[in-house]
Symmetry: C2
DNA sequence: TTTTATTTTCAATATATTTTGAAAATACAG
DNA sequence: CTGTATTTTCAAAATATATTGAAAATAAAA
């Protein structure tokens, strides 16, 4: 397997993994391509290498820039835009995690809080059981969230090792 | 908002969240319905309450039983199968996590290991950079995996609090 | 065994998501 | 300003995923 084939396999695997976790295949592949590339790439190069349309490339790049896990890079004397990936996995993984928490988890937690309030006064067995289930989910997610927030703000991957040691 | 409405909102919210994370909407809704129900439910009751077809209900239930997050429950004198949810969130969240790690993350890690080996000998700048990126992902995921494994085998939610304290 | 209830399967259908590509908008150079 | 390169938008087409429902299989009762 030569370098090119390895990179291709990386891109394909990354795209498939993204799909399984609710991330668009093209978006994941564009990130993988940029992760695997030493030099900045233009939209046209990305279109060529991944065999995707201009519209798709543009949308995927914009989303990755919004996530903060790839950057625009100006190349002097060239009118085109170029892109580079954030290569520090701790940085980009934390950005993806905090973005998904904020967009997908936090709204659900808001709903759970409402439901909990609305159920609090219900004295039926059914009501009490449901209240317990909702409370359990809330406190579990709250605990995980606090750990996630600490990691996100800390910005240091050694914290993972610290966590691991805390578990022995 | 009465209890029934609260439960319905819980089911809808859970279904939407599932979809965003690569879990089938019906599967997530069936789990939510059973979480919100004190007593065991039959396939017919689930079909009625969620307004889904028999085939869909059957497939969703089987998947949840496979995950180990709902259980079959026999009711004496009744020929139908009934189902109850595992209500301890720590238990079921760990089961989902380990199942997804095993099915989706571990194969990717296998591919990354192959790629790393194949790239090790490459002395080009490009090859060295790519090797670094792959190695970085590997060691990050390995660390997370070790933490996850500890949590999964531990089966005690107090560990989360312990973790949180370790981060102060 | 035969009948009836229940579960399972899966091809067909419906729905949701992704991708394309060309037109419109924008940005830059002369 | 005018012409050209580049980026953005978005309706239409393609693809992927989810759902249905009825037939086949299975299991229990008579």
């Amino acid at each position: 397997m030569d370098l090119q084939a390895s990179k291709q396999q990386f891109i394909d695997t990354w795209g498939a993994l993204g799909t399984e976790w609710g991330i668009n295949k093209s978006v994941a592949q564009v990130q993988a391509l940029l992760l695997a590339s030493t030099n900045p790439l233009s939209t046209d190069e990305i279109m060529d290498m991944l065999k995707i349309s201009r519209g798709n490339a543009n949308m995927s790049l914009r989303q990755l820039v919004d996530y903060g896990i790839i950057y625009k890079k100006v190349i002097a004397g060239d009118r085109k835009e170029y892109f580079v990936a954030e290569k520090d996995i701790f940085k980009w993984a934390m950005k993806i995690a905090s973005m998904r928490k904020q967009r997908e988890i936090d709204p659900v937690m808001g709903v759970l809080a409402d439901i909990r309030k609305a159920t609090e006064a219900d004295r039926s067995d059914d009501g009490k059981d449901f209240y317990e289930v909702v409370s359990g989910i809330q406190s579990f997610v709250d605990q995980l969230s606090k750990i996630a927030d600490k990691l996100i703000q800390s910005n240091r991957s050694e914290l993972l090792l610290k966590l691991l040691k805390a578990l022995i």
